[in-house]
Subunit: 335 residues, 2 copies
Amino acid sequence: MIQHPDAHRAPDLQPALIGLDWGTSALRAYLLDGDGNVIERRSRPWGIQHLPAGGYAEAFETVAGDWRGRWPDLPVVAAGMVGSRTGWREVPYVECPADAHAIAAGIVPFESECGRIHLVPGLLQGGPAPDVMRGEETQIVGALARDPALATSALVVLPGTHCKWARVQDGCVTGFTTYLTGELFAMLRDHSIVGRPARDATIGTAASRAVAFRRGLAVARASGAAGIAGKLFTTRSLFLCGDLAAADTLDYLSGLLVGEELRSVLATLGGPCPPCVLVGEPTLCDRYRDACAVFGIERVRSLDETGPLGLWQIARAAGLVAARHPPAMEATRRG
Amino acid sequence: MIQHPDAHRAPDLQPALIGLDWGTSALRAYLLDGDGNVIERRSRPWGIQHLPAGGYAEAFETVAGDWRGRWPDLPVVAAGMVGSRTGWREVPYVECPADAHAIAAGIVPFESECGRIHLVPGLLQGGPAPDVMRGEETQIVGALARDPALATSALVVLPGTHCKWARVQDGCVTGFTTYLTGELFAMLRDHSIVGRPARDATIGTAASRAVAFRRGLAVARASGAAGIAGKLFTTRSLFLCGDLAAADTLDYLSGLLVGEELRSVLATLGGPCPPCVLVGEPTLCDRYRDACAVFGIERVRSLDETGPLGLWQIARAAGLVAARHPPAMEATRRG
């Protein structure tokens, strides 16, 4: 894994790379310098399921066309669902275990109507219970570059609609598991009987919501091997019995679901939990950090916006950006 | 628990009771004789959330008005969500443990614009993880009357949108747990990424669907204490990897969810499983019976339409219908 030489260095304003994090719901574009620092960032709600009228090409031109016009030789690297079967161009998955170099080796250069774009592959975990990711592999590479101590052994957790728990060993993603926690929460809130009380209520106070969230976590933890299948309905029955305010039911439900995720992860590990790093939106990471504490997971840190550095690391490993600090950068390279 | 004297007796066509099973999605009306046999049955899709323009009164008049006109002295008993907070008139829950007599003691006579209606209470399981049911208590009473051997010790399972597992001991419902399995399945099918492949596919063959269902059950069983939280996404990833046909994904998902329910029930029991009786729609009960076999639950029988007999038993316990066969009927009555 290539180490980011100096994350605190001021950007030198000499662009070296255009990086795109192009997922299901958003397109994020970064102009990066030769050390992986962000010179400029832009974002549009143009995920691959919400493209503007002109499709991928118009989205790209609007977000990054002026960068490309001014620096026509800059390489462009794009990660995420843009490389999926329903994306701009499908890129085969790279199989685990995989590090930044293996991911870089799977890059597919794509001659689009906007010029060449290097599409980053997603990761595949094979076997009887296969799993896939697209975009998160780049955030993981960025996280390990930001905190190289994690590369030895860590769980990289990316909370969200589909939360990914990736196992990292010696700089490689060795495997990962997807939890539908965020999607389950949204479905139960919007379509289920357990979400109904909250639909007619104003939201609770920060304090009562935090209590309800921790209460859900505690119920999930206490459920032991049975899990929360038989506890989901308590979101409604506690309300019916006057023991949970309608305004707090959704936070209780969130606690049940996040708690079930942690309970399941710990049961799968079956042993001590390696250091965890939460990667993503700070408010959501804080929620997971609180949940980890309830479940006795103590070595947890949070990182935000690791995608740009991940794009840069992968571009570096692919030889798309020049090595300006070769000795330092190669120091932690595997094998 | 009062025993049904002779279920195989031919109806004598002398009505003794009008029974209503009035739930969220349907209204079922039964004309019953003095032994609890069904003389006539009617059904309309007028659950309490789908009432006709004239509301409860019009629904009742349309379904049972002619019975009431012809036999004005017949008592009317109604069970289900009609007695809930959002029903015709709220009836307080009766707390577990409860048998037919305790349920009958909680009946609330309600003077409606259509005459007196005896509303059957639902059951409440108190404590830190409360649970509630309305309507299922009547089906359970009917099931125990149909097969009195179950009254000693049994699990009565009522599959459906909200599957109830009721623990029965010495004729009493001692407690129960609600599983949202049916609702989770419908939500995941209609709103989630794991339901998407099936939305564009024609449904699989009976054979391939059965295989996919058992495969989902096997994955749930093998998940052990971790449960299926980290396996739900395999519904999609197996499809993406070409290892599961889009047409079979929903049956695989159903297997995962029903399997998680059984896994959770067995983990909660922590010991040998008492005899199980599945009560409900035969196709759904067959599915659960197959699932029980995969999980090693062997003593399972199925019963259909136990509601009418339950209504009759509860009316009998409330003294609303005369005892025509006192000695036989009282033989198994508790203490």
